[in-house]
Symmetry: C2
Subunit: 305 residues, 2 copies
């Protein structure tokens, strides 16, 4: 069994009220694969960077056992770049610049070795590219997809095609409301269910996450964090922890899906404790484990009535 991740790799300039970084490692595929790497392998990455992508980031990904055979390096090309600034209230951010660069002409090619992967995580990129990757897979069995407002508004038809082939859709609350055209999240889930995904996860940032299946609703708390350094990548990291845990355990029951949501939340909490991907670079697995237990204590109440 193996896990394929597709999405963006980028260079980010990020400023928060506490500090700033330039040319930091970013992108959805980066966060997803780093988070998933703590659970199991083999891990395959499909993406594109320019010639300016630093070798140290390649080395970092390789050190996490991420197979980069599917990473295209465009000669003379520039890597995708995002420049953002967070406000004093870290829930609010301004995107100052998005340069697609090599992503503009990206034609994802899945290496033969990757085509039999059963678990697939489609990070947030153009749904047409997500579909192109899916089309190359031999027998995908469990497809997790992410998207964003930009594609919901600008690529609705393509996105609807994609949703028919996605098992789990992971989006945030405003995206769910926009996609379903419905402010109530329970109703929104039913509308999104009819678009294809059997499972919906709604990320609510500091309010945790909701997991919907045909049989259950599960509410996961957020980890209470006194100091958030950089929220960038938290959602992608969540998705990576989620699918990484499921890929490791090979158990797609509702009960295990709940655990995967907690592992995703735990990974996201490590992500935001440091700038860029730093919180995901040198984690020891026992710390992930410990944080899982902290989530249990956070939401548990006993049965006396």
């Amino acid at each position: 069994m193996s896990l394929l991740v597709v999405g963006s790799l980028g260079l980010d300039n990020v400023a928060t009220p506490f500090d700033k970084v330039e040319n930091a490692l970013g992108g959805s595929a980066t966060y997803i694969s780093l988070a998933a790497s703590y659970f199991s392998g083999p891990l395959y990455l499909v993406g594109v960077v320019g010639e300016d992508f630093p070798q140290k980031y390649i080395t970092l990904l390789e050190n996490h056992n991420i197979d980069l055979e599917g990473l295209q390096v465009v000669k003379g090309g520039k890597t995708f770049r995002w420049v953002g600034k967070y406000h004093y209230d870290l829930n609010v951010r301004d995107t100052l610049l998005t340069e697609l660069n090599v992503f503009e002409k990206f034609d994802p090619i899945v290496p033969d070795k990757f085509k039999k992967a059963k678990f697939i995580c489609l990070g947030n990129i153009d749904p047409a590219l997500q579909l192109k990757v899916l089309d190359q897979m031999v027998d995908p069995q469990f497809v997790v997809g992410d998207t964003m407002n930009y594609w919901i508004e600008g690529r609705k038809d393509t996105l609807m095609e994609l949703l028919k082939r996605v098992n789990v859709l992971i989006i945030n609350d405003s995206e769910a409301r926009l996609l379903a055209k419905e402010p109530n999240l329970i109703k929104a889930w039913k509308i999104i269910r009819s678009m294809g995904p059997e499972i919906l996860i709604i990320k609510k940032g500091e309010h945790g996450a909701l997991l919907f299946t045909d049989d259950i609703v599960f509410s996961a708390p957020a980890y209470p964090m006194e100091m958030i350094y950089d929220p960038t990548g938290a959602g992608d990291t969540f998705a990576g922890g989620f699918i990484g845990y499921l890929h490791k355990t090979q158990d797609l029951s509702a009960e295990n899906m709940k655990r995967a949501v907690i592992y995703g939340s735990a990974m996201a909490s490590f992500c935001v404790e440091k700038f860029s991907t730093q919180g995901l670079e040198n984690l020891q697995y026992f710390r992930v484990h410990d944080r899982y237990r902290e989530f249990r204590n956070l939401s548990r109440f006993d049965e006396k009535e």
Copy 2:
């Protein structure tokens, strides 16, 4: 043991996208005491209404075993009135009119019989009035207080006096941020802790509630509701269920505090299912019990790691 509730009683005109009501029973003390009435008695109410307050509402409260000896009825006076309108997204509401009426000159007098109550719930009114009530009590042991932006901004000094004498402060997330002048809720808790309350509950509406003590943080989910008819009074109902359950069980441990938060959340979910106080008028206790269990299923994940 007995439980004293002070706060507003009012007549509300409420419009939602689904329906509207006029001259409906409203006010913080109303919702608190109706919710608490499902747990234990005796229940004492201190408040004020005008001569226009309908007898049927008096009868309703009395039928819930709420002792109205402390309810002043002002001859020729008009009852407190609130007119509000909810948007399509029910998280957003406009207050169209607030008429203090008899509340303008309200001087709360606690009847002798009520003065030995040990549990006290100070509903959202002018903190000067909340203090006046506290001053009349013989030996208050457990004081729960609510407040709002209006008093945080306009009566800060009086509110700070009150907070020194409150065991549990129940406010919403925007009020917590405003009171502490801090966007991060974990930091806000520490700042509010230094103002007096040993326990802080932050209500987050559709995102549930957070309970903070010196030893624990507890995250309670919100009940996933497909149909919210009228959010009015949900926060007061939460407070009533919370203190009602604690008063019934007489157990102020952190574990029992968590249960009380869930009972408060359960009562609030019944409140918003119908207009005004209708959802709290004819509940059977087994339904409260059942909903408590549903909350457990909603947030529970098992221990396999």
